[in-house]
């Protein structure tokens, strides 16, 4: 009895060990090639906004192809967690949908010496709806605000018909769909409503949806499925995921603008850079109420955070070349292909250049 138990235990252990040994050989696509093309090697850990995840995936794929000895990780734990980890020195670089402010800004400067914060990812937010036979509606900011504030409740109401005289609007109740999770998309959309239609949108700006009683769904995918699932629904979501849903052309000044990468990237050009934040902090007060022609004002701008000095000079070098790649024309195009973002303009890239060069420079 004693011996048989021992033998059985041994058999089980052997089987388990065998499984581990069989498993312990690398993935087929990961060659341990030590080609020294770039001279860069090491691991970077980043964390932050989940909005950047798809773009970061494309960036690190291309970057680690150019530099085979570099591994870049990005945990999409959210902007709040990303800022906290960056400030605590727990990550090498960070991503955030909202620029650093107050205590966090102070903490980041303390950690970094010179703080570098640049917009890396600009994504248009589409207002999409589901109505049979209608592909596009022209809506003024006031109308959009009233719809999402549940003041306009029917699709065939006066205000919607006024800007869309030719559309065959049904007598259907409007179901507004919002994000149930706190998100940068919500914050940017609400920010847009309160600055472009302050009278129709009395709520405070935050990442939480302020109006209760509507349909709420988790994440971009959730919002999209919820809009698809019901007739007469309308919601806001990352333009890259809007697909073939009907979309809203937004009133800007006298004209109506549909979302497009160019129109979205233009917002950064007409917006003011926040002053007094730091030499290399490029945080923007987005001009949501712009009347500039051809500008699509509902955008999400996500920032990358990095330091002027790192404990390890090699880390600084890695972060700098990674950020150089992110902002390069090639990097921005890769993000546009993989995540549907709007590439930043050449003019802005030039302005950001000194900031990128400052990364790791003082270590």
């Amino acid at each position: 009895m004693q011996r048989s138990i021992v033998r059985r235990t041994a058999a089980v252990a052997a089987a388990a060990a065998l499984t581990v040994v069989l498993g312990a050989c690398g993935a087929a696509n990961e060659s341990s090639g030590n080609s020294d093309q770039s001279g860069l090697s090491g691991t970077l850990d980043g964390a932050g906004a989940s909005s950047q995840e798809a773009a970061q995936q494309a960036w690190r794929a291309a970057f680690s192809e150019q530099n085979p000895d570099v591994t870049i990780n990005y945990s999409p734990i959210g902007s709040g967690g990303g800022r906290e980890r960056f400030v605590n020195g727990a990550s090498d670089f960070g991503g955030t949908d909202a620029a650093l402010e107050g205590e966090e800004l102070k903490g980041a400067k303390q950690r970094c010496g010179t703080l570098v914060e640049v917009p890396v990812y600009v994504s248009p937010v589409a207002v999409s709806f589901n109505l049979d036979g209608i592909d596009e509606l022209k809506l003024t900011p006031q109308t959009i605000a009233k719809i999402f504030n549940q003041k306009i409740t029917k699709w065939n109401s006066e205000e919607i018909r006024k800007t869309n005289p030719n559309a065959d609007l049904p007598n259907l109740p409007i179901t507004p769909v919002n994000r149930s999770d706190e998100s940068g998309t919500t914050e940017n959309f609400v920010d847009y409503l309160s600055s472009a239609a302050p009278n129709a949108w009395p709520h405070e700006v935050s990442g939480n949806w302020p109006v209760s009683g509507g349909e709420a769904a988790k994440g971009t995918s959730g919002v999209k499925s919820a809009i698809n699932a019901g007739q007469g629904t309308i919601g806001y979501l990352d333009a890259s995921q809007a697909g073939d849903l009907g979309s809203v052309a937004v009133g800007v000044g006298e004209e109506f603008v549909s979302y497009s990468p160019e129109a979205a990237a233009k917002v950064l050009e007409v917006s003011e850079r926040k002053t007094g934040q730091g030499e290399h902090v490029y945080a923007y007060d987005l001009a949501r109420d712009t009347t500039e022609s051809g500008t699509y004002p509902i955008v999400l701008v996500s920032y990358g955070m990095a330091c002027g000095s790192y404990d390890d000079a090699n880390t600084g070098k890695l972060v700098r070349s990674y950020f150089e790649y992110l902002l390069s024309e090639e990097g921005q195009q890769a993000a546009a292909d993989a995540a549907g973002s709007a590439p930043i303009s050449a003019g802005l890239r030039e302005k950001l250049q000194p900031a990128v060069e400052a990364i790791g420079a003082s270590s």
Binding site: A54, E65, Q241
Partner: protein, 362 residues
């Protein structure tokens, strides 16, 4: 339990004495259940056809008609008690079928959506350098095996030893405290366990320590109370007669526990452990915080971020690229893989309990 179906008394042949009422009632023929079921199905089919409904109402009305039919018939032939029994049998069977429907639907959904990418590349490739199409979850599969394996290695000895203490040794204040706090532990939201592990590792190993072992610690916090609770239940069920017989032979207590009590309870314990693993293997939030995410393979749980299947699946679903489909396919296949891993674990647990159990149970 097949013996229960035959009536314990002789039937028809008994003559009622003095022409009074029979002491024995008749029984329904053997084909009664199937016949009634068929009749119910035909009738339900007719009704549903006339009213123009779908499959679900058909199944429901078949069940209801069958229950009414068989118990009515039985009440007429066999009397009230048997009728109630037959109605209850119908209820139990239909409850089972009713519960099976959503569960089967879940499995079918996962399999049909997951099979698209269930190919060699998925199991041999990681996501390093992959954009859009292709790529695989090799790194995530290894990460899941490593983190859950470590969590199991930590939780099962601690949990089982605690359960032994509670059942065999514990009486008094300490054991009451442990019972109480194990209950408290079952209520820890998973994300809190992740935050705890993250904070603990930041404190001990410096800020930003995110690795597979931290994830395993977070999972252990969730797993230990489940192991304790289920093992405790199973150890309690072991009959005292067995212990007393062993003590009477002069066996020391630890040997009684190791050689008599544990083998008797091993089947139940391994079921409990499997359930506990199953509970944590699909956790997303704590692993994301404590273990992180990466596209590359990492075998070392003590250094660097590690991908896991659940996190991989969740983020392929939650933040897909453009186009969306390759990401969603990977998400579903990862979910299917997770299910298969649990299935294998389950088989292993079953064979272990078969190997060690003293006699086959029911």
């Amino acid at each position: 339990m097949s013996t229960t179906t035959s009536p314990p008394t002789p039937t028809e042949s008994v003559e009622p004495p003095n022409g009074t009422k029979s002491l024995v009632r008749g029984t329904l023929p053997r084909w009664a259940s199937w016949g009634a079921l068929g009749a119910a199905a035909v009738l339900a089919g007719l009704i549903v056809r006339l009213l123009g409904f779908g499959v679900t109402p058909f199944v429901l009305s078949t069940a209801v008609l069958y229950a009414i039919g068989i118990s009515g018939w039985s009440r007429w032939v066999e009397g009230g008690r048997k009728a109630t029994d037959r109605a209850f049998t119908a209820l139990v069977a239909s409850a089972f079928l009713l519960a099976l429907t959503p569960l089967v639907s879940v499995v079918v959904t996962v399999i049909s959506r997951g099979l698209d990418r269930f190919d060699g590349q998925f199991f041999t490739y990681s996501m390093r350098g992959v954009v859009g199409d292709g790529g695989g979850a090799y790194h995530a599969i290894m990460g899941t095996l490593i983190t859950s394996g470590l969590a199991t290695l930590m939780s099962v000895p601690i949990g089982l030893a605690t359960a032994i203490y509670l059942v065999e040794y514990g009486h008094g204040r300490l054991s009451r405290a442990i019972t109480f706090f194990v209950d408290v532990m079952t209520g820890i939201p998973s994300i809190v366990a992740g935050l705890f592990a993250y904070a603990l590792f930041a404190l001990v190993f410096g800020p930003g320590t995110v690795n597979g072992f931290a994830g395993a610690v977070a999972l252990s916090v969730l797993m230990i109370p489940i192991v304790v609770r289920s093992s405790e239940e199973m150890l309690k069920i072991v009959p005292d007669d067995l212990r007393e017989a062993a003590f009477a032979l002069g066996t020391p207590k630890w040997k009684v526990i190791v050689r008599v009590v544990l083998p008797t309870a091993v089947a139940g314990i391994s079921t409990g452990v499997t359930l506990a693993i199953a509970r944590v293997v699909g956790e997303t939030a704590p692993l994301l915080i404590a273990t992180g995410a990466t596209g590359s393979t990492n075998f070392n749980p003590f250094s660097g971020q590690m991908a896991t299947l659940s996190v991989f699946s969740y983020y392929e679903y939650a933040s897909p690229g453009v186009p969306v489909d390759p990401s969603l396919d990977r998400a579903w296949t990862a979910a299917l893989t997770l299910m298969l891993i649990v299935m294998v674990l389950n088989l292993v647990a079953r064979s272990i309990s078969l190997l060690f159990a003293p006699k086959a149970g029911r």
